[in-house]
Assembly symmetry: C2
Homo-oligomer: 248 residues x 2
DNA sequence: CCAAAAGTGTTTTGCATACACCCATGA
DNA sequence: TCATGGGTGTATGCAAAACACTTTTGG
């Protein structure tokens, strides 16, 4: 920080009202073909009784990424968070975003494959996987409505250009399930035939699991199983059907 | 912040070593057809004598965006920063990124049209527009090499999907100049004919300025002038020539 | 006249869409 | 046997790439 040297005269590190640094998590999953987000219910004022994104303080020896992974493990009860997709979204720093004190929050978006039992080991308040964007929850606390909308935007464009859709799936999945991820996030139907071609034509997106087939639960031909491939970027992108794209 | 309520026992807001919150700016421009970045030279330890990104503290009543705009104005000497492209990149929060104390930095990428005289009104140390990625500067201080690389990545993919390339141009520009922006940022040549068609086919990207023509300085037919249009997103994207895209 | 850049036209080719069709399973 | 979802094949249309060609300036 060059500006570091431009401190106000007489500056010392306890002179200012301190900034608290927190992380907020927008954790998504797919259940019953619908996109859901993990929300907690606030017990205290302000915004008591309203829903909010899970999150917490960044501890003195943690990076924001480490803190986010820790909170994710605590809130979801997942013991092994490695391999899950956890991505920094942006930082929200409006001076008035928390009425109590100055809080700068680094927001993250996370994708988990299957809703494991919620509130595994944490001290979290009541947390639930609620359907995204259906009015199943009222306005969120603080600026969390905005954060959640930004996170959904990011996920939506993320699965367009990267292989991150597999992060919603269990270790082995069918192409129908993968297609379900896109349809749930985008809220639009895709042509199964073209989707299949597109995915298989992208090297490293998915790898076939030989000799295995899964009954999708209902009728229909059993589908072949795939697992996530080594690729991370998607070229060319898998474009949304009718909608227009999003700015950076 | 729900985790806000999960404070350690006995927490009060002065109990922790405070976090300092700063902004770092990667300010790009095009000069002589080459991409340049604004760098200051550090006077004090640590990293004395090395180059660094301009930046500074977020003041108690500022958001990170406000602080970034203020710093940009101070460092570039531009009095009117409105209209310039200033975009939050991400936040760097490694506990050891600054040896002196705990500093969390929100990084921004900025695009300015023409290199105005540098160090206009600020108290900045020596600052120069140096060619990006040519070894014109050694390793940067702190983690600024990484920040700068991330910023270049963001700009490179940003001009692919958005109209932000016009932010590098003066109010009125020729299509050749706009093409020069893409070639400088991507480091690759583009077909003038196809570039022209692509830009003009995108509604709202540029608007013609009637009755005006600019001599490009050298020989050749005078080019028509255009100004930035109202569009912000680019659909379909203007893809890089040979390279592959970038992950989110 | 020549070089260089603007601007127009044309051909080719790849790719996405749309849709028809067969396969395998549960009810 | 019928409905349902997996999987394959194929025609059509659009848009990007490649390149030839004209125009208008400075040297």
């Amino acid at each position: 920080m060059p500006g570091y040297d431009k401190r106000p005269p007489g500056y010392d590190k306890y002179a200012f009202e301190p900034f608290a640094v927190t992380v907020d998590l927008a954790v998504f999953t797919i259940r019953d073909g619908a996109l859901r987000v993990l929300l907690v219910e606030r017990g205290q004022s302000p915004y008591a009784g309203q829903r909010a994104l899970p999150g917490g303080f960044v501890l003195p020896d943690e990076s924001a990424e480490t803190a986010a992974a820790r909170e994710l493990a605590e809130e979801t009860g997942l013991s092994d968070v490695t391999g899950l997709h956890l991505e920094q979204l942006r930082t929200y720093s409006d001076p008035d975003r928390d009425p109590r004190m100055r809080v700068v929050s680094v927001a993250f978006a996370a994708l988990v494959p299957d809703p494991p039992e919620v509130r595994g080991g944490g001290d979290a308040a009541r947390a639930d996987w609620l359907p995204y964007g259906t009015g199943a929850y009222g306005p969120l606390a603080f600026d969390h409505d905005r954060i959640l909308a930004d996170a959904h935007d990011r996920i939506g464009s993320g699965i367009e250009n990267t292989c991150l859709a597999t992060a919603f799936c269990p270790p082995e999945f069918t192409l129908g399930e993968l297609r379900g991820v896109y349809e749930a996030v985008w809220g639009a139907g895709l042509d199964p035939a073209n989707f299949r071609r597109k995915v298989l034509a992208t090297p490293g997106f998915v790898k076939p699991v030989h000799g295995a087939a899964r009954l999708t639960g209902g009728r229909g031909k059993p589908a072949a199983l795939y697992k996530a491939g080594p690729a991370t970027a998607l070229h060319p992108p898998l474009l949304r059907p009718t909608a227009e794209g999003r700015p950076s």
